[in-house]
Symmetry: C2
Amino acid sequence: MDVITIERKVLQKNDEIASANRALFKKNGLFTINIVSSPGSGKTSLVEKTIEHLSGKLKISVIEGDVQTDLDAKRVSNYNVPVVQIITNGACHLEANLVKDALENIELKGRDLLIIENVGNLVCPAGYDLGEDIKVAVMSVTEGDDKPLKYPALFSASQYLLINKIDLLAYTNFNMERARHNALTINPKLKIIVTSCTNGTGIKEWVESILKDKFL
Amino acid sequence: MDVITIERKVLQKNDEIASANRALFKKNGLFTINIVSSPGSGKTSLVEKTIEHLSGKLKISVIEGDVQTDLDAKRVSNYNVPVVQIITNGACHLEANLVKDALENIELKGRDLLIIENVGNLVCPAGYDLGEDIKVAVMSVTEGDDKPLKYPALFSASQYLLINKIDLLAYTNFNMERARHNALTINPKLKIIVTSCTNGTGIKEWVESILKDKFL
């Protein structure tokens, strides 16, 4: 019972810090996205494509979350945007206080969009608000169409679902209709966009949705 | 500091129960495999292929771990083996006590091989011994060759790495040499087998390794 009590305290503390983060983002006019998926679903590639398409319109900063290595931050820094790497040292998700600490190392004034790439994990990040405006779940077609049913918490907490790696669809037994049905069963309000960072499918629709969310 | 102390106690308790599970497996002559990967790397398909190839030689039982649903247990039960589904209700990994409870609902006497399919998660299951003889990490080529570096704990704790979905290699930028190098950098003793449940690559090598591990 002790563990549960402390877990609740941890979540409550997390929510308080997330609220403070959110207020700071709002004060600076910063729209913030928290991207969550399994390892290898293509989060970093989606971050790269988002920067490519929006960096002429918006000033973008990035926070990368990883258990180990700064490989992703190095990839993203090639796009000439400010990027901070959080290495969790084994922890399986980002928490609001880690983001708060990262914010001390990144310019907020005059920035428009903050992209936070969470640790690759379809389970634990779902429960931790970071102060973001929207949570974006990513699943790739190679993972199978049953994932929303098997990992409902993330799909339930997200505003967007990007169904990624659609260029590989023909080589899998992924059923798009069933995937959509499964996702919308868990969360009927989920905005679903089908994407590929390899052939560019859906990237325009995705970045235009972000622009609308920020400015409309 | 409280959380860390309790986390240590949780792990210590887990290790005690895992040792008891291990003694029970040994007493019953049961060889036990704990399969861990990201969601959608093909664990369940590998379990199915393993049963197909070994059910004539070994009496197999299966424990399925999932956050939600009994979809995997239903799939595996088509292969006429005893299967128990553990639904963790949000918890991101199996623990030894969950396996202990499952063992009360599955025949151990006269069985040869117990396959435990863990929750889809590349981070948290790494730290929890279930009492298994071997831990098997699975990564699919669609996930990228950097995964051993980014999620080292699992690769470090495993005896096997199955690099799965090799049939999709041509459609990805996965570099096999780099993947092997990354994995062996983390764990030089890792036995790496390249597999595909779609075209059958490596399945024979995998099941023969299991037979050797059990009987040699």
